[in-house]
């Protein structure tokens, strides 16, 4: 359960960008969270609610875009989507694969009112 720590960093970024844009209020926050990031969107959303209290982001809508898990097979180079924890190549059956997406923890965009 480290969503509060992650959200503290996220909020710092959010407020920094909002201030730079001269915003009076943050209305919408969009995050991209990978399925292999180890972060749970529901817990993140709760942390967001608590941490934004008393800031210009209080009451803002939080949108979480999920990034799926994808691997590239090290043998046949095929790229495939996968459930977390399973990287057997559906093409050649190799279990040697490199993770190419699924770890995202990104601040994508903000909607602010000035």
């Amino acid at each position: 359960m480290h969503e509060v720590a992650i959200m503290q960093d996220a909020l710092q970024l959010i407020l920094q960008h909002a201030r730079r844009a001269g915003a009076a209020r943050v209305c919408h926050v969009s995050l991209r969270i990978g399925e292999l990031s180890g972060v749970e969107p529901d817990a993140l959303s709760l942390a967001f609610e608590i941490l934004t209290e008393g800031t210009i982001a209080e009451g803002a809508e939080l949108e979480t875009l999920r990034e799926g898990v994808r691997y590239r097979c090290d043998c046949c180079r095929r790229e495939f989507a996968s459930k977390a924890g399973c990287w057997t190549c559906p093409g050649c059956g190799s279990v040697e694969a490199t993770l190419i997406s699924g770890r995202a923890l990104d601040l994508v965009s903000l909607e602010v009112a000035s």
Partner: protein, 159 residues
């Protein structure tokens, strides 16, 4: 209030940690220190493995350890007296080590004299995954008595 404005950002939430980790990695490379970040469940044997490793390395390789726990200095004490400098970090309620903690801990180590730095992370297979500590390698391990299916249950850290 004037109209709404959309700001495209596309920045990593942990970018602050990433920049500290990059600074650390450059520092370790300059000094030629190999840094290993050890990750596993609580009680799986990180400290036991290190006790044995430090004993084997004593007199051959100059090693140091940074060890993280929420509370107590028990692990740090276990690792003392084996020829390696040891720094214990107590994280309080934080379930992982981050790069800034490592940077602060380095002030207490004779950095120029370290060939291998072991970082024993907080025993946890979830939270430490997201935090780069500037290490060269992550070493994730499990003991079969905790269940041989740990890699299936905790895909984020074993991937």
């Amino acid at each position: 209030m004037k109209g709404l404005q959309t700001i495209q950002i596309e920045e990593g939430i942990l970018s602050r940690n990433v920049s500290v980790a990059q600074r650390l990695r450059a520092r370790f490379n300059t000094r030629g220190t190999l840094v290993l970040n050890l990750l596993s469940s609580p009680g799986s044997g990180k400290t036991a493995l290190l006790e044995r490793t430090l004993t084997e390395l004593d007199g051959k390789v100059r090693a140091a350890v940074i060890v993280g726990d929420l509370a107590t200095a028990n692990d740090g004490e276990r690792l003392c007296g084996k020829g390696a400098a040891v720094v214990q970090i107590q994280t309080g309620v934080i379930c992982h080590l981050d790069a800034a903690m490592i940077e602060r801990a380095l002030d207490q180590l004779p950095e120029e004299a370290i060939e291998i730095l072991f970082i024993e992370n907080v025993g946890n297979l979830v939270c430490p995954t997201a935090y780069d500590l500037g290490e060269a390698l992550r070493v994730v391990f499990l003991s079969v008595t905790e269940g041989e299916d740990k890699p299936l249950k905790y895909p984020a850290v074993f991937n």
